[in-house]
């Protein structure tokens, strides 16, 4: 089979964070960990090209995935594999997006990452196989990745025994015992000491490592961000009032205040009367400008990022957070003030 392998800028040897803004490209043959992967895949399969994209670019331009998959298909790719991305959040999200875009384009696909990688939420039903925590487990991770890829290439489904992780679409099947019998059996299993036995695995919530503090607010570039449904008056992007699936960005250039009639809140989870009478109550632009003029804030970013935090799914919220963080980092922002409702 002709395979295209996705890696980020780091594993392609282009550099670290300084190259994270690099756009998508396709290179001939295997690169970096792809070389070892190619040897593990054997002679029947060939890595014909390596797809590469910088992590920040991938996180803030979700369309990179469909673009790379289309280019891989033009080259004759019959399967796409991505990673391993270990616990790197942006890289994991990129791998998941590549795998999901490949599935969408009817290509067999596989991504590899650690179960704690937030990218798992983006895999949208495609197959993800477990990797180690860090690149120090590269060898074992590549062996499992290659074994899983060979299984998929032969048209088989991966199961947990192959190291499959992440959400699997539920399907109906007949069980030997009825629900009451299974419930009693599960209680007995739990009483027997197996605290994790379940028919319905619940999602894990990850923890986030706090960023290092800024040294001097008077020198730093600040962004204002909010989940208060804060939009330009009239809501030109049609941002949802609940269960938001997107976020918006709008310019604050030349504005000294978030005035009534210029901005509003479309949040559906509280009365927006106070927010609409003075939108600075949601996005504190008036005071932030004042402090920028006085030098307490080095400089205020020229736009705000916003969404509606109301019944938002964890997967969407995590995606927004990662996209915001990547976007703000690309713009050189050192601190963000997020007003939450």
């Amino acid at each position: 089979m002709k395979i295209v392998h996705y890696v980020n800028q780091f594993f392609a040897g282009m550099g670290g964070e300084d190259s994270a803004g690099t756009g998508p490209e396709l290179r001939d043959g295997a690169t970096g960990p792809g070389r070892k992967l190619a040897s593990l895949l054997g002679d029947e399969h060939e890595i014909i090209a390596t797809a590469v994209c910088g992590d920040d670019y991938a996180a803030s331009h979700p369309e990179f995935a469909a673009e790379l998959v289309a280019r891989a298909k033009e080259r004759g790719a019959e399967m796409i594999v991505a990673g391993p991305s270990f616990t790197s959040g942006r890289y994991g999200m990129a791998c998941a997006r590549i795998a999901a875009a490949a599935s969408e384009a009817d290509l067999p696909a596989l991504a590899s990452m650690h179960p704690d990688n937030p990218g798992i939420g983006e895999a949208a039903g495609t197959t993800v196989v477990e990797s180690g925590l860090t690149a120090r487990q590269m060898k074992d991770s590549l062996e499992r990745f290659a074994a899983a890829a060979l299984k998929i290439a032969s048209g088989e489904e991966l199961t947990a025994r192959d190291g499959r992780i992440g959400p699997v679409a539920r399907t109906n099947r007949f069980a030997a015992d009825n629900a009451a019998q299974r419930a009693v059996a599960l209680v007995l299993t739990r009483l027997g000491g197996d605290r994790d036995a379940t028919e319905i695995p619940l999602p894990d919530f990850d923890s986030v490592t706090p960023a290092a503090p800024i040294a001097d607010a008077g020198e730093a570039l600040f962004a204002l961000v909010t989940e208060g449904g804060f939009v330009p008056f009239g809501n030109p992007d049609r941002l949802e009032s609940a269960r938001a699936t997107k976020w918006v960005r709008h310019s604050l250039d030349g504005l000294d205040s978030a005035d009534e009639g210029a901005f509003m809140s479309v949040h559906g989870g509280f009365s927006t009367v106070w927010a609409n009478a003075d939108p600075n109550r949601i996005l504190p632009l008036d005071v932030a400008r004042e402090m920028e003029r006085e030098g307490a804030i080095g400089r205020l970013h020229g736009e705000y990022l916003g969404t509606t935090g109301n019944g938002t799914t964890v997967a969407d919220a995590r995606r927004f957070g990662m996209e915001w963080a990547a976007d703000l980092r690309q713009q050189g922002i050192q601190a963000a003030i997020l007003t939450a409702t």
């Binding site: 706090p210 800024i214 607010a217 003075d278 949601i282 008036d286 005071v287 402090m291 804030i297 007003t339």
Partner: protein, 51 residues
């Protein structure tokens, strides 16, 4: 940092305009203090400065 109400995270409509703006300014000053403070886990900052 918890503030005074879900519908107005950076305000307080019970106050007069000048007092409300002073409250908002205090919140932002505390936010600047928070982002300059090292933390290792979820940490709640007080909106009223420590004396």
């Amino acid at each position: 940092m918890s503030t005074r109400g879900i519908p107005f995270p950076a305000g307080d409509p019970e106050l007069g305009p000048e007092q409300e703006r002073a409250w908002r300014r205090q919140l932002l000053q505390r936010a600047l203090h928070a982002v300059a403070t090292p933390v290792s886990e979820p940490t709640v900052f007080d909106a009223d400065p420590v004396q």
